[in-house]
Amino acid sequence: MDFGSGEGGDADMDFSEGGGDSDMDFSEGGDEGGGDEGGDAGGGGDVIGDLAGNEAQPDAADRDRPERSGEAREEIFAVQQIYALRINRVELIPSYSTTLNDPFVSHSAISLGLNYWWTNVLAIGVNFLWYEGLESESDLSFFIRRSTRLAVPVSAYQFGAHLNFTYVPIYGKFSMFNEFIFQWDSYIVGGVGIMRTRPVPVVDPEVRNFDYDIRVAFNLGIGIRVFVSRWLAVFGEIRNYMYLEQLEALDVALGDDRLLQETWTQDNPAFTSNVSVHLGLTIFLPFDFDYRLPR
């Protein structure tokens, strides 16, 4: 791993597939292994011929070789193959997520994702989040109601299911104390799916009761994945799940209209962003893989 400032230290990360391409320059100054071997090859002549003692009469094969006017100095790069190939592998992604931007309700969830990588940088996948039973409402709603007489409509989630595309534009590697090397990458993820949510009755809870309903949701996020082995990584991700939420009406209808469900919700749905942080593991299957070219 060359972090040097020498010739080989610049632009020395090539993450193309296969070991034969210059995946990453581990050379010291960029000329590791160059020079001497090439020189020997260029000036050494025919060893078998030397042993046979017929130096003055080269054979036909030797005559066909182009004449070498100088010493050859080939640069031989010692390169590392991509640590964990993703192409044609399946990624299993268990994680825990919680809300970053909602001070009233923590929409925590356990999540399971599945990605199929059709290139080393592009994947298509799905993820499923289960919220019900894991959410918690903070004391803030109570404090607000008590101090300002203002009811803040909140929502509860049951689950979310999303189809996602993942792209990896950034690769990198970290060294720790010049001893360990960790491969990592950063990715962008986005997609479309559904969320099953409902308003939580806070304005007129004695009468109102809401069922879960399906909403169409979009999501967009960024994440970082650090490889622990060739099939296991830890990841952190921030993803915004966006959808139109039907909120509870702040007004209570009078008389029998109070019982009409049509009066329980606001006239227009509200655009809602649920910015979540995911922390979890990614497991690549199969555990082993073969490089296209040998080391």
Binding site: M1, D2, F3, G4, S5, G6, G9, D10, A11, D12, M13, F15, F26, E28, G29, E32, G33, A78, T98, T99, L100, N101, S108, S136, S138, L140, F142, F143, I144, R146, S147, T148, R149, L150, V152, I170, Y171, G172, K173, F174, S175, M176, F177, N178, E179, F180, I181, F182, Q183, S186, V228, S229, L232, A233, V234, G236, L250, V277, L279, L281
Partner: protein, 298 residues
């Protein structure tokens, strides 16, 4: 809110522990090179560009934004400086002022909702003498200053679209912070807001302010990207938990479990109304390393 953050941190720690235990060989990458590669026996990194050791790292300016605020957000503009004894350890100072020394106020949607729809009654007159003036009683962060140790255990490089390359390091900081907060001034006489309507004295109590200094621990993590030997960019997350009464309302009188209820209200606005807050923020900063020349390891 604290339980939410604590829960998240615990889960993160658990996930990291599981990953560590499940890893078949934690040194696979480095050992692979040492044992089977052409550089067998060599250190993991040669000719390391040491961006920190023996240098002063100025972060000028830092521009940040507080997160998860309930009533008022803060745009933080500041500067920092770090001196490093080694390439992975140093000390630093950082300071930032909020909203250009209070030149403006960034209300959350909740504050706007309270101003528009909040209702003052005999039962909450002390907490909110008028809904229109609610924006004047909420707490504001004025500034932050910190002194901290900074530890950068991870050094690396990244490639963006296989076309742009940058040295990087990941760092952790821990230290002490001084937060300067402007809050609603104490109201010790409950009779000020005891009338059927909000008296002038009661309304005055809504806008009266008090500035205090709140010591707090500070922790943070960050990622530095170095574009060349002396310029870079820093992406930071900092947390500085301390007690605060962000709404300027009467909240004390909790039950035995510390939760809301019990003996509420106590009829006073004072330090008893403060709640624990996990303040945190993100920062972006421009790095200038001095001297410009960099040291390169063997």
């Amino acid at each position: 809110m604290m339980s939410q953050i604590t829960k998240s941190l615990l889960v993160a720690a658990l996930a990291a522990s599981v990953a560590w235990v499940a890893a078949p060989t934690s040194r696979a990458s480095a050992q692979e090179i040492q044992i089977t590669g052409p550089l067998a026996g060599a250190p993991a990194v040669r000719r390391l560009r040491q961006h920190r050791v023996g240098r002063v790292q100025l972060v000028v300016p830092t521009v940040g934004y507080t997160l998860q605020d309930e009533f008022s957000r803060s745009l933080m503009v500041g500067l920092g400086a770090h001196v490093h004894f080694t390439d992975f350890l140093g000390i630093g100072v950082w300071g930032a002022m909020a909203n250009f020394a209070g030149a403006f106020q960034i209300d959350t949607d909740l504050t706007t909702q309270v101003i528009t729809n909040g209702q003052t009654t005999d039962r909450n007159r002390l907490s909110m003498p008028s809904n229109e003036g609610f924006g004047d009683q909420i707490a504001q962060l004025l500034g932050l200053a910190s002194v901290h140790l900074i530890f950068a255990p991870l050094r690396g490089k990244l490639a963006l679209f296989q076309g742009a390359f940058a040295d990087t390091d990941f760092w952790i900081l821990a230290g002490f912070a001084a937060a300067f907060v402007e809050e609603r001034a104490d109201v010790t006489d409950a009779s000020v807001c005891a009338g059927a309507t909000s008296s002038a004295a009661c309304l005055d109590s809504q806008t009266a302010r008090n500035v205090r200094f709140a010591p707090a621990p500070m922790i943070g993590v960050g990622l530095n990207l170095y574009f060349n030997e002396f310029l870079g960019m820093s992406i930071q997350w900092r947390a500085f938990p301390f007690d605060m009464n962000p709404s300027g309302t009467d909240e004390s009188g909790q039950g035995a479990d510390g939760g809301p209820g019990g003996g509420f209200p106590d009829g006073q606005i004072n330090a008893e109304d403060q709640r624990f807050y996990f303040h945190h923020m993100i920062n972006l900063g421009l790095i200038i390393n001095l001297p410009p020349e960099i040291q390169v390891s063997d």
